[in-house]
Every structure is written in structure tokens, then in C-alpha cells.
């Protein structure tokens, strides 16, 4: 078990043991395998010891019911975190009018600091990190509230640098406590800061950075490339977050300019820019599906497939909506979906062979 480094690897091992137990029982029932009582007890003892050690060290789910409860806990901690964030915002706004500026500032600074200490306390108390993740989300939202309200209190000119501070804060918590949700929040904030600064360099007011989609695409591509440049040996679950956020940013930016061609640097008519980016979107999403299948990354395949359908629908709508009768248009979409299903099935069979 020494070679197991992460909770994910430990869970995969626990899953393999469960499957092995079930298959062993099935083979015995069918009479294909007959173990002596002594052998059965030996195997069972060994498996139970391994599972107990995995549960002790990594807190893995060792049964189907535990897995279901873990999913419930994950959903509850995410929803609970979001609800607590809303509660923090609403609580502050309900009472801040009665406070002086110094008291407002003091509360705003103290809130994220307290939540950081709470995160650390929770992380030391439980290995599953459900409560730590929840406390970290509250800390992040307190810090967002802090800078946002400080800007309002002193009537500051909006600045993109707040996104850098929020992003850095979220990334510090994410890496310190291995929290994927905070990593995603941090990457979105740092990405927004980078895209806003690129826009400023190009002479555009920073808040209008989405009006030049190519800047956003560049940021997405950098996020996508980062895991390759910096391997995460200690936290192998993080590159997945980088890739998903990077790809999502690229697809959303291309989708934006595929719908509003004026939001591009291309010095051509907006309609032509839209056509161009619709084709780019189709090619990029097909490329993501291909790369995802090759590298066995189901998340990338699913994201690529979702955007491939969106880009295909937009392209067909532009090209055929006014030309074809409506029933024929939707029939064509249905047939293309069937074709895609058949293609996926073929790929799956080929990979299984």
C-alpha cells in the first residue's frame, strides 16, 4: 500500500477490492471456483486488513452505502457553503448602515481572518475536509465582501486588481488544504484579472474585457497549458481543475464571438467573424473530444461533446433555419445526433478491443 499517495488512488484500490469480493462470491456460486474454508478466511482477512488500513489513512468509502453518503455530504457541504456565503453578505448589509466607517472596516477585515482560522481548525480535525472546504468558501466570500464594500465605502474607481487579490487568496487556501472548489474560484479570478489587464494593454477599459474575446481565449489557453508546465505530483487531482476551467473559458469566449461577431479583433464584417468563430468552435470542441478520448479524460470528452453540440446547432441555425422547413431542420439535428452516437459507440468498441 506504500505506493498509494492520494485519496483517489486509495478509493480506486478500495473499489477494486469490493469488485473482487463480489466476483469471487459469484464464481463460487456458479461452481467455477472452490476455495477451502481456510483459504477463504485468509483472503477475507487480507482484504479486510487492506480496507481498514485504507479507511484509516485516507478515509475512503468501503461500501456502497458509504459512497452514497459521501456524495450526499459533498452536495450538502457545497450547498451549505453557498448558503453560508449568502448569509454572510446579507447579515453585513442588514446592519452596516448603523455602523461608523471604522467599525465597518474592522468587521470587514476581521471576518475573512476569522474564517481562515476556522478553516485551519476544521482541516486539523477531519481528514475528509468537508467542513474545511465549507469554511474556506466562507473565508473567500468574506474577502470578496471585504474588498467590495471597502470600494463602496470609499467610492473607489473600480479596479481589476481586486480579482488578483481574491484569486491569490483562493489559490493559497486551495493549495494549503487541497480544496478543488477554491482552486476553481481562484483560477476564475486570476483569469479575469489577466484578461482585464490584457484589455487595458490594448486600450480597452478593463471592465469591457469580454468585448475582445481573443484576450479571454488566450487566458483560457494559458490555464489549459499550466498543468503540463507545472506537474502536480503532490496534488494529482488539481490538473483536472486547471484543464476544465481553461477549456470552459476558451469555449465560452469562442461561443461569445460566434454569436456577436463585433466582439473580435478580426477586421472583417461581424457576420463573417461569427461564421469564422462558429467553425473554430466546432473544430476546437471536436479536438477536445479527440484529445480527451486519447488521454482517457472523461471530463474533457463530456465538455467537448456539450460544446460541439452547441456550436453545431448555432452553425446549422445560421445556415439552414431560413432555408429549410422547420420540421426538416430539427430532423437534420436529430439525425446528426444519431450519427454522433454511432461514432462514439465505434470509438468505444475500438478502445475496448
Amino acid at each position: 500500500m506504500d505506493e498509494i499517495l492520494t485519496k483517489r488512488q486509495a478509493q480506486e484500490r478500495a473499489n477494486r477490492i469490493s469488485a473482487f469480493r463480489e466476483e469471487l462470491a459469484q464464481l463460487e456460486r456458479e461452481g467455477a471456483l472452490a476455495l477451502s474454508e481456510e483459504q477463504r478466511q485468509g483472503v477475507e482477512r487480507r482484504l479486510a486488513q487492506t480496507l481498514a488500513a485504507l479507511a484509516e489513512r485516507f478515509d475512503v468509502d468501503t461500501s456502497e452505502s458509504q459512497k452514497q453518503i459521501s456524495w450526499g455530504m459533498r452536495i450538502a457541504s457545497t450547498l451549505g457553503g453557498l448558503a453560508l456565503c449568502a448569509a454572510v453578505f446579507l447579515f453585513f448589509y442588514r446592519f452596516w448602515g448603523a455602523l461608523g466607517t471604522a467599525a465597518q472596516g474592522g468587521i470587514l477585515v476581521a471576518a475573512p481572518l476569522g474564517a481562515v482560522l476556522l478553516t485551519d481548525f476544521a482541516a486539523r480535525r477531519e481528514r475528509t475536509l468537508y467542513f474545511a472546504s465549507l469554511a474556506a468558501m466562507v473565508a473567500f466570500s468574506c474577502f470578496v465582501l471585504d474588498l467590495n464594500v471597502m470600494g463602496s465605502i470609499f467610492n473607489l474607481t473600480p479596479s481589476p486588481h481586486a480579482f488578483l487579490a481574491w484569486g491569490a487568496f483562493a489559490l493559497i487556501l486551495a493549495y494549503a488544504y487541497r480544496l478543488r472548489l477554491l482552486l476553481a474560484a481562484g483560477l476564475v479570478c486570476v483569469g479575469t484579472w489577466a484578461a482585464a489587464n490584457l484589455a487595458t494593454l490594448c486600450g480597452i477599459y478593463w471592465a469591457q474585457f469580454p468585448t475582445r474575446a481573443e484576450n479571454v481565449v488566450a487566458v483560457g489557453l494559458i490555464l489549459l497549458a499550466l498543468p503540463a508546465l507545472r506537474p502536480h505530483r503532490r496534488i494529482p487531482e488539481f490538473p483536472w481543475v486547471y484543464r476544465m476551467i481553461g477549456l470552459l473559458v476558451v469555449f465560452l469566449a469562442v461561443l461569445e464571438v460566434a454569436l456577436w461577431g463585433g466582439w473580435s479583433y478580426l477586421a472583417i464584417e461581424p457576420k463573417n467573424a461569427e461564421r469564422c468563430y462558429q467553425l473554430v468552435g466546432l473544430a476546437a470542441s471536436a479536438g477536445a473530444i479527440w484529445a480527451g478520448i486519447r488521454r482517457r479524460m472523461p471530463g474533457i470528452v463530456n465538455l467537448g461533446a456539450a460544446f460541439f453540440v452547441v456550436f453545431l446547432y448555432i452553425r446549422l441555425h445560421v445556415a439552414l433555419w431560413d432555408v429549410l422547413p422547420k420540421y426538416l431542420f430539427f430532423l437534420l439535428i436529430g439525425l446528426i445526433a444519431l450519427g454522433l452516437l454511432a461514432a462514439f459507440q465505434r470509438i468505444r468498441r475500438r478502445r475496448e478491443a
Partner: protein, 236 residues
Amino acid sequence: MNRWGVVGSVAMVVAANAFVLVGVAIDRSGGVVQKIELTERELPTRGSSEDNTGISVRLSWQAGWYPAVRFGPGIDRNKLTELGFDCRVAPGDRLAESHYQRQPARVVFVVLEYDGPAWQKWLVGAIAASPESTEFLKGHSSRLGVVNVGKSPSALRARYPDQDHYLIVPGLMRAMVRYEVSKPREVFGEVAGLLVDDIHVPQPYASTLAELRGKPYHLTLCYGKRYEPWICGCRP
């Protein structure tokens, strides 16, 4: 304890807040760059509620949308070129609309005239265009409006030295093409918004405003070196 996680995140919170406070101190350390007293017509309150007890006011100006009467001399193609917009495409050109729409808004300094000749002229035109709104326009609508824009606030202040009637604030300007029946197309500039138009009212002025609910009031706006405002006076 994950020491670097705690230290790093605490340092980030402290550093970001210190950055904000130092910026505010620098802005206000050079004294008041401009000061103007406005009324509830130009600074209407954003209503506080049970869920948000903070009070803020919004800097309101006549954008010329309703009634559709232009305030001041307007910003023409030459002025837009001076501000850095690419105005080489003629307004009648087939590609004019997309050319001007694609140009991003630029940060400029906006001169807002308060209760001056441009407003008097605008009022006459607005009443003629919308006679049913006469009472509102005369007694309740904002008397602020854009009369000029430029890149340099000091150059604009030299041209409009009267601080009681001319306020200079940073805003966003965009270029547009105007279509009007039986008139040639025209390229013009529009102030898309002010960078800071929502102004927080701190204590004790917030309590004074709360007591004056529904009654006329006067608020004094001060601006620092970075042209960021704060409320520095309140009276009935």
C-alpha cells in the same frame, strides 16, 4: 496547523486592505481638488431597506434620452478624433455602424454643468418636447448635464474654473452613429456612464439624510487627487 496556508491568506487580507487604505489616504492627502454642493435632484438616495441599511446617493445627470433633447453642444466627430477614436469612416458609409460599434469605450474626463445656461436651454427644449412633464422637469429633474469632455482634467478646469457650477469627473465615452429621418447620418459621442456614480453616505450624514426622508436636502461632494468623491457635508 498548515502554517503557510494561514500566514499566506492572512497576509493577503492585510495587504489588500492596506493597499486600499493607503490609496484612499493618498487620494485625500493632497486636499480637496474640487467641491460642489448639489441637491436631492442631482443626488437622489438609493433607498435603504431592512435587508440593506446602508445609504448611498446616485449622481444623476441629463443624458438626453427622455425627453430626447440634446443637453449642451454635443460631442462631434472632431472631438471624438481628439479623444483617440478612429473616425476615418464617414457616417454614410455602409460599414459605419459596425466600425463605430466595435470601437471600445474610452475613459475620459467629463464636464458636468450644474444649473447653468446649458440646463436653461435644455429645459426650454424639453418642455416643448414633453409639455405634460413641465412640473417634473422644472421642480424635480436633475440640473446636471454634460457640456464637454477631454483627456486632461486640469485643462478642462482651466476652461471651466467655476467649481460651484462645473464638476469634472471620469467617465466612459463611446462613439455612435445617429440616424434621424430626413437628416444626414451623424457620428457623435455619448457618455456611457461615470466611473463612480454611486456614492456612499457615511455616518453622521446618513442619519441626517434618514431624518430628512422625503424632504429637500443639500449634499456637499468633495473630490481628491484621483477624482474619487466623498460626502463632506449635508444640510436640509
